[in-house]
């Protein structure tokens, strides 16, 4: 179903970082220094910590912008720059440098991470203004951004892994930021543990690279990959996919994403839009030189992505918690990106395109949801909202832009990016394409439901709640992100993003799709319209009960329970794991300890028996002396007579 492209797979061959590119390290160093200062200075930085944190993020964005402009000025063939910072590991044949790679792909990620990240920083100034630990929050945000930047700027898989783990750590700290809540602490732990499962895949993949290629550098591997065996490349692809599944919350490692909503809302925006979940998509696109040569691994990517995009969409339909509904939608949209990435050279650019537009509109909507919660005393239940558009006009309007973008309303950013992925999927396989279409329709349904329940309809506010618009420092980023959600589609103008990414991911051969592109677009729009209309009929035209109805279909019940993701984990992993541990404990207690304590126990038991002889009666001692003498005498006699 997936074919090897005739066009050559690009090789990473970066030039040296001179001129403006010498500043590359600064992109990472700024937020990292911010995090270090904020954490080390402690309470002394409380007064201005949030300002410093925001300043480093914005500074990093400015540097990224300068770099991007410099890269634009270069010829297409010279748009890969590497910076060697220092020798990291040098043991035997193993030689790893702390190298950074700046190319069109990392350039886009840099802009997305630092740009959206900066907006989220600004927003957090307002959102966290009443939190006594705001400085710490900004330190963690900086750390998160820095780790993600290391991830996308790495020139070899080991440095990438450094950023990968840094992202895991920062997400753990931020999801569990309100650690006094048991649920938040548990959610952080869950995210951390599930991510470790994915990390096993990535670290095994890195080990396999060392064995096969003797290096983890993109430059070396992209040059040598054609010489590796098919089995090795497929294994490598599947291992990398396992890592990507963990970070990007793909089935079967998706369970942490919904619980991660326990963190403060800006964290959800950061995790879902600019960082973390995009890492898996980045990994697959970056490793295109592996996946292009391993069609079986690509098939696995496509299957995982298709399942995830439907899985997440189903969850999004059933949730009453506004953040969880959005989280389900993220899972689904990341599924689209993975699908694009799994479709090979025809899809990489669109995966990245969707990733960027999704970064805009999902950050927009998460921050909008945060704004709604801010105005309703941190209530997240959509059944307690309704008719908020009058009370929060700016939030409503900006959220509406994000809504139109995600459902793919013609002209908005999401329309262009999702449409391209559906088109590519349809050209590749009927089944996958239809699933992607269905997902788009369901997206239309659940997002409309969310809109209707939150901003339209009747007021269902709790008594004492007086929804109000958020301060300017929060609405400002919302407006900026709304504008980006609307206009993000310009990246596709004249196929710019496809040409831009061509040096990294290759050029797709000219194909003639079975259905003309316009027809696909029309069908997609119709399917989405059907979803929206269905939501309007089921949610918009009926009163919304205050408590979620219990007489619902099995599918709804399943979706409310995250399609039993936790139950499956419990049954397949946690339960057997627990039983195994219990068995090991018993074996340890009985067998190992038995051997160790058995010897001393035996000696002790004999001692207990022997001590009875020491009864304190002189006469019995005398008897034993006599008995002994008699025995000796008899023995002597026997020996002498014999």
């Amino acid at each position: 179903m997936i074919h090897l492209s005739e066009a050559p797979i690009p090789v990473v061959a970066p030039g040296s970082a001179d001129g403006a590119f010498a500043l590359l390290w600064l992109v990472i160093a700024l937020p990292l220094a911010g995090a270090a200062v904020l954490l080390l200075l402690g309470r002394r930085a409380d007064a201005w910590g949030h300002l410093l944190g925001t300043a480093t993020a914005v500074g990093s964005f400015v540097v990224s912008l300068v770099l991007f402009v410099s890269l634009l000025g270069r010829d297409e063939g010279e748009r890969q720059v590497a910076q060697h910072l220092w020798q990291w590991i040098s043991v035997g044949r193993l030689d790893v440098g702390l190298d950074l790679l700046y190319d069109p792909l990392s350039a886009l990620f840099l802009l997305l991470i630092t740009g959206v990240g900066s907006l989220i920083h600004v927003y957090s100034i307002g959102y966290m203004s009443h939190d006594p630990r705001r400085r710490r929050f900004f330190a963690y945000l900086n750390l998160f951004v820095a780790a993600m930047l290391v991830l996308v700027l790495a020139e070899n898989y080991l440095v990438l892994f450094l950023g990968w783990e840094g992202v895991g750590l920062a997400s753990y700290l931020l999801i569990g930021f309100w650690q006094h809540k048991h649920s938040a602490a548990a959610a952080a732990k869950k995210a951390f543990v599930i991510n470790r499962v994915g990390d096993i895949g990535l670290s095994l993949g890195i080990a396999l690279m060392f064995v096969t290629f003797g290096s983890t550098s993109f430059t070396v591997i992209s040059a040598l990959a054609s010489g590796a065996s098919q089995a090795t490349l497929t294994t490598l692809g599947v291992l990398l996919l396992l890592g990507a599944c963990g970070k990007s919350a793909q089935v079967p490692l998706q369970a942490w994403l919904l619980d991660a909503m326990e963190g403060p809302t800006p964290v959800s925006a950061l995790i879902h839009a600019a960082t973390m979940v995009t890492a898996g998509v980045y990994l697959v696109c970056r490793s295109n030189f592996v996946f292009e040569r391993a069609p079986d691994a690509q098939t696995v990517v496509v299957v995982v992505a298709t399942v995830t995009l439907l899985w997440g969409a189903a969850i999004g339909c059933a949730k009453d918690d506004i953040k969880k509904a959005l989280a389900g939608s993220t899972m689904s949209q990341i599924g689209y990106m993975m699908l694009g990435a799994g479709l090979g050279v025809a899809g990489y650019a669109f995966a990245i395109f969707h990733l960027i537009t999704h970064g805009f509109f999902k950050a927009n909507m998460f921050l909008g949801a945060g704004s709604v919660m801010h105005g309703t005393d941190d209530d997240v239940d959509m059944r307690h909202y309704g008719a908020l558009r009058g009370a929060m006009p700016v939030t409503f309007l900006t959220f509406a832009m994000g809504y139109l973008a995600i459902i793919g309303f013609p002209g908005f950013s999401g329309f262009w990016s999702k449409d391209k992925i559906i088109e590519t999927a349809l050209a590749d396989s009927w089944v996958v394409g239809l699933c992607a279409l269905l997902g788009a329709g369901v997206t239309g349904f659940y997002m409309t439901r969310l809109m209707l329940m939150t901003f339209l309809g009747e007021q269902r506010w709790r008594p004492g709640v007086h929804p109000h618009e958020s301060p300017r420092v929060m609405t400002g980023p919302l407006v900026a992100l709304a504008a980006l959600s609307v206009l993000g589609g310009v990246l596709l103008a004249g196929d710019w993003i496809v040409d831009w990414l061509a040096p990294v991911v290759g050029t797709a051969p000219e194909e003639h799709p079975p259905i003309p592109a316009l027809a696909v677009t029309a069908i997609a729009v119709l399917v989405v319209a059907a979803g929206v209309a269905l939501a309007w009929r089921l949610v918009g035209q009926r009163p919304i009960p205050d408590v979620a109805p219990t007489q619902v279909s099995a599918l709804t019940r399943a979706a409310r329970a995250d399609l039993y993701g936790d139950a499956i984990n419990e049954a397949l992993v946690i339960g057997p794991g627990r039983r195994l541990v219990r068995g090991v404990v018993v074996a340890d207690d009985r067998a190992v300890d038995g051997v160790l304590t058995g010897g001393p126990g035996l000696v002790g038991g004999i001692g207990l028996l022997l001590r009875r002889v020491q009864n304190g009666y002189v006469r019995s001692y005398a008897a034993s002396v006599l008995g002994g003498s008699v025995v000796v005498l008899v023995a002597l006699l026997v020996v002498n007579l014999a």
Binding site: R611, N615, G616, Y617, V618, R619
Partner: protein
């Protein structure tokens, strides 16, 4: 061994056995002591009898040593017995059985 000597040795063995049985079965410490003395003197008798048979003095010297040791033992032993009797009001050896685990 002459008949005379064997009669002495037999007497010595009988006395020794009476002493040993006395040590084992009697509870009174004084009697136990006397029985110990009996055993020692049974040994002396045998030593002297053999000395006489061999016509030298080594056995007799050994018997003197035994007497000296027995005298010393009686002095120490009786002193201990007195002390035990003062604290426990009993001369039974079974009552002094605290030295055990």
């Amino acid at each position: 061994m002459s008949d005379q000597t064997s009669a002495y040795v037999a007497l010595s063995a009988v006395l020794f056995s009476i002493g040993a049985v006395g040590v084992l079965v009697r509870r009174n410490a004084i009697v136990v002591f006397m029985c110990v003395e009996l055993m020692l003197n049974a040994c002396n008798l045998a030593l002297v009898a053999f000395a006489r048979q061999h016509g030298n003095l080594e056995g007799q010297v050994a018997a003197f040593f035994v007497m000296v040791v027995a005298a010393a033992e009686v002095v120490v032993g009786l002193a201990i017995l007195m002390t035990i009797f003062r604290t426990r009001r009993s001369a039974s050896v079974d009552d002094a059985s605290l030295l055990k685990l």
